[in-house]
């Protein structure tokens, strides 16, 4: 009896230690993931001098000067960059969802010569290492006279986002019973009317997934913006940040404030809808 008791006790003890250890591992991991954000957040309220004296401590005299200076000084173009990013991301995502839906549906349902050819072409778009286009896209866009415009980045962002969108929509539409469209046709609904009033609402979940993936991807995209945009007034947020790096080389609190401002839409969006966002991103990754 005593023996069994001690055995249960050691078992409980072992579970206890294991539980502490495992929880600790996860806590440390989570902390390292979120720490930079927190560090930047409270450090951005420090003056440069206070930060340089103590890089890790909490601000003793919290101040908003970094934010005020960044937002009021028009040389930094931060407001403009934010507007450019919002416009570029918004329009790109809109077009990707729109075209992804149209092309995905047509490839899934309409039989015409070249259907499979188009499908393979867009599928290739997913396999093509797009970073090899970095230099040639600059050449092509320059020759065509469409680099360094407000709409320049829409073309690559929409084109690079389309394959995954088409692929996801096509798979989704194939799961919708065709009887639905047959019934609509018998009732005299035209192709376009069926597409927009019947199919579109059904496809909403997959289109939301597409939008989620693309919002993050396009807001954060850097390399093509770097190559195609030269005008400071047209630059997107990641480009603006690399400019800041040079301008505030040793003024970390200011850099942090700038980064937090540009990250804020993404961070707020993420923590407000983290469950849906994680689900959407994972679905996109695994199916793509």
């Amino acid at each position: 009896m005593a023996n069994v008791n001690t055995e249960i006790k050691t078992h409980k003890l072992r579970d206890g230690i294991l539980s502490v250890f495992l929880n600790l591992v996860m806590a440390v991991f989570s902390l390292t993931c979120i720490f930079p954000l927190i560090w930047m957040l409270y450090s951005s309220f420090k003056e440069k001098r206070a930060f340089n004296a103590d890089i890790i401590g909490l601000p003793k005299e919290p101040t908003l000067t970094n934010y005020i200076r960044i937002l009021t000084n028009s040389d930094y173009h931060l407001g403009e960059s934010m507007m450019n990013s919002v416009r570029t991301t918004g329009l790109s995502v809109l077009f990707i969802v729109l075209f992804g839906f149209i092309v995905g549906y047509i490839l899934a349902r309409v039989k015409f010569r070249g259907n499979r050819l188009l499908y393979v072409m867009f599928l290739m778009g997913m396999l093509i290492p797009i970073h090899s286009l970095l230099v040639p896209i600059y050449v092509v866009f320059n020759n065509a006279g469409i680099s360094n415009r407000w709409f320049t980045l829409l073309l690559p962002y929409v084109s690079f986002g389309l394959p995954l969108a088409i692929f996801l929509v096509e798979g989704y539409v194939k799961g919708i019973p065709i009887a639905l469209e047959e019934a609509a046709a018998i009732d005299g609904s035209s192709f376009s009317r069926t597409l927009w009033t019947i199919i579109l609402p059904i496809c909403k979940p997959i289109l939301v997934t597409v939008a989620i993936i693309q919002v993050f991807g396009n807001w954060n995209e850097f390399s093509f913006a770097l190559v195609l945009i030269k005008d400071v007034a047209l630059q997107t947020v990641p480009l603006a940040l690399t400019q800041f790096k040079g301008q505030f080389a040793s003024d970390y609190p200011k850099q942090m404030a700038a980064m937090l401002i540009t990250m804020s839409p993404i961070v707020i969006l993420y923590f407000a809808f983290s469950k849906e966002i994680i689900k959407g991103m994972v679905a996109g990754a695994v199916k793509g």
Partner: protein, 297 residues
């Protein structure tokens, strides 16, 4: 019979016109352009001289390019081991009944992958900074200020140091992907294994891993594709330096084309990036599938 599925040809044509044209213009036209210009000597100006395969001959002997390619492979290997390896271990930990706050860990862990690579690079620049960086601050606190370095200036360490932010950023991402794969496995499998006396390690390697091998294959493919195109982090953190110690292919192509405005050779490098990436991605896919089939057989 089906009017819906047989709309008029011009309707379909109109619907497809814009997306297909945009796609061809931004993806295929540049590809062909790069291929054509790779046979020219072209310094970005109006003069282009046809030089046949000269650019390719230069490329084959270009040590910096092959060093860059090696660095891409280094990143691929480091990230497969680091990201997917650590992610798998963490999934085993988080799936234990003893771990609390799973949702919070998931949300926080996934968070870095949603942030721009540029931001991640800038943050880690701060962490590595000589005067105001956290690493040197920490070394001073534990009484070893002699170990402090200008971290990103160390040629031997720089590849490791630039891969750490990359690995860190995506651990949570792969963790969530693997978690969702495991969630779809019948829990009875785990319970019976536990009753049979399999320990945690055995359960992970012999039961979980074979059941989620398709997901692992997806993860590895994502990892390879992602690191063959490494650019943003490197651009922000080191620009390929010191010297060429952290140069990657995309960065090298960028420098040749834009800093040295050698567009002809830059186009040639672009073609090489295209071909090499396809070979590495395709080759590794074939290899992995063969390994998996052999295991089954």
């Amino acid at each position: 019979m089906l009017k819906t599925i047989k709309p008029k040809g011009w309707v379909i044509f109109l619907y497809l016109l814009v997306p297909v044209a945009a796609f061809v213009f931004t993806v295929f036209v540049p590809l062909i352009t790069a291929f054509v210009y790779s046979f020219f000597e072209w310094k970005g100006g109006p003069n282009k001289t046809f030089i046949g395969l000269d650019n390719y001959m230069t490329l084959i002997q270009d040590e910096v390019f092959w060093q860059s390619f090696g660095h891409n492979i280094y990143l691929v290997v480091a990230c497969i081991l680091g990201q997917i390896g650590i992610a798998f271990v963490l999934v085993m930990v988080i799936n234990s009944k003893l771990v609390k706050f799973k949702t919070i860990h998931r949300t926080f862990g996934f968070f870095p992958s949603t942030i721009a690579a540029v931001c991640i690079g800038l943050i880690w620049n701060m962490i590595y900074h000589y005067q105001y960086g956290i690493i040197n601050w920490f070394l001073e606190k534990i009484g070893r200020p002699d170990l402090a370095k200008v971290w990103l200036n160390e040629p031997d360490l720089v590849m490791l140091l630039v891969s750490i932010p990359l690995i860190w950023q995506y651990i949570g991402y792969y963790m969530v992907i693997i978690m969702s794969a495991i969630a779809s496995i019948d829990t009875e499998v785990f319970e019976s294994a536990e009753i049979d006396g399999a320990n945690a390690f055995q359960r992970a390697v012999y039961i979980v891993l074979p059941l989620i091998k398709n997901t692992m294959l997806v993860c590895i493919t994502l990892c390879i594709a992602g690191n063959m195109k490494a650019f943003d982090n490197i651009y922000v953190m080191t620009k390929g330096g010191p010297g060429t110690s952290s140069m990657v292919m995309a960065m090298y192509g960028y420098q040749i084309s834009f800093s040295q405005s050698n567009m002809g050779y830059g186009s040639c490098i672009s073609v090489a990036i295209f071909v090499l990436s396809l070979i590495v991605i395709g080759g590794s896919q074939g290899l992995l599938k063969r390994i998996m089939r052999e295991k089954e057989g």
